[in-house]
Amino acid sequence: MVRRGELIKGSLDSLLLGLLEHQPMYGYQIIRELKRKSQGYFEFKEGTLYPALHRLEKSGMVSGTWQLLPNGRQRRYYTLTAKGLARLADERSQWRDFLTAMNPFMQPAD
């Protein structure tokens, strides 16, 4: 049996790409959104998000930009790049194939 933590770790890049597809987000916002959209399922050590975001940025999947807030603080917003979008499309297609292949085995028998 695969533990939930391991599942999340293995899917974190896909989750981030999927989340950033709709709008640029900053780290704390990403964590809140992941928690909200998955109804608490995707809850992990918050610190592990930043290495994942930086890895994606280094590989050109996302780009980070600093934005100055009215109160003088700065936030780093991450935006999906064209390369990231192509990777997301690829991961989605793989996910669909995986689900199609798994369904006959995992659906309860009638």
Binding site: Y26, E46, G47, T48, Y50, A52, H54, R55, K58
Partner: protein
Amino acid sequence: MTTTLESYLESIRSGLRLGPAEEREVISELRTHIEDSLQELKETGLSEEQAAGACLRLLGSARMIARQIYEAHSQGTWQQALLAAMPHLLFGALFALNWWNHTFWLTVTLILISAAVGYGLWRSKPQWIFPWLGYSLLPVVIVGILLMHLPRTWFWVTIPLYFLIALWWLHNTVLQAMKRDWLLASLMLLPAPIIVGWVLAVEPDFTFDEFSSARVYHFAPFIALSFLALGLTIAAFIRLRQRWLRLATLMVSGPLILTMVAYYAQGRLSLYAFLILFLALGGLFAIPALLDRRIRRATKRVRAFTGIWR
């Protein structure tokens, strides 16, 4: 922000071992995250202390975060790996083509080293600069050898000044690397025992004559081979992500290349010299690591005492 959280950020900062600009950005991003988290936790009715404790638990281990961020940033591109290996490959080519005694090619190599060091320092010291920085010590060594050929009186007059300048340059160069990561200092100094090994094989008493040139010609293909091995080691180091793998690469290839020198020197490198160089190689890893530990402890103490975290 509480002292606990500042101390947490400081632990992450000291484990990052990135360039100053990257380090500032990472800490600034985490600081904003902590401030957001604290605000939200306090809104749920927690006290400042309770919110800080909860915030730390949510974030996870500072050591793990620092290690993972280091791994996300550390891997260089193939282009950077080639740039880092380039000084070794250049010297390898000088010996492979037997151009090591051509003033023109030696001058070109020294100009290239100076240009690369200047450019790298200007571009806030990327990882590939450090092998070049190591070779910037070479002119200092050459001057030292040349001084040995001065008349005795001049030799004793100039040698104290030479040692002062040489030690100052060595200290500055090593410090540049240590400030970033002690492993880069080891990487930078790795060729030193190999080069000294070849010098000892060619002329153990440093009195270079016409026979020395003949011996360098004889050893040139093997010297080129050892520089090629150094180049490959450095390229692998730059391409690796994990710190322990980087350390293992240096710790395995250093002794291997030194053994290669002893083998191809065909008995001209004495066992004593080999053992001393082997110990020096060990010192290249142990001394920077120990110094780094002491510097970090001292910095932490000073910061804790003065209360300056930002």
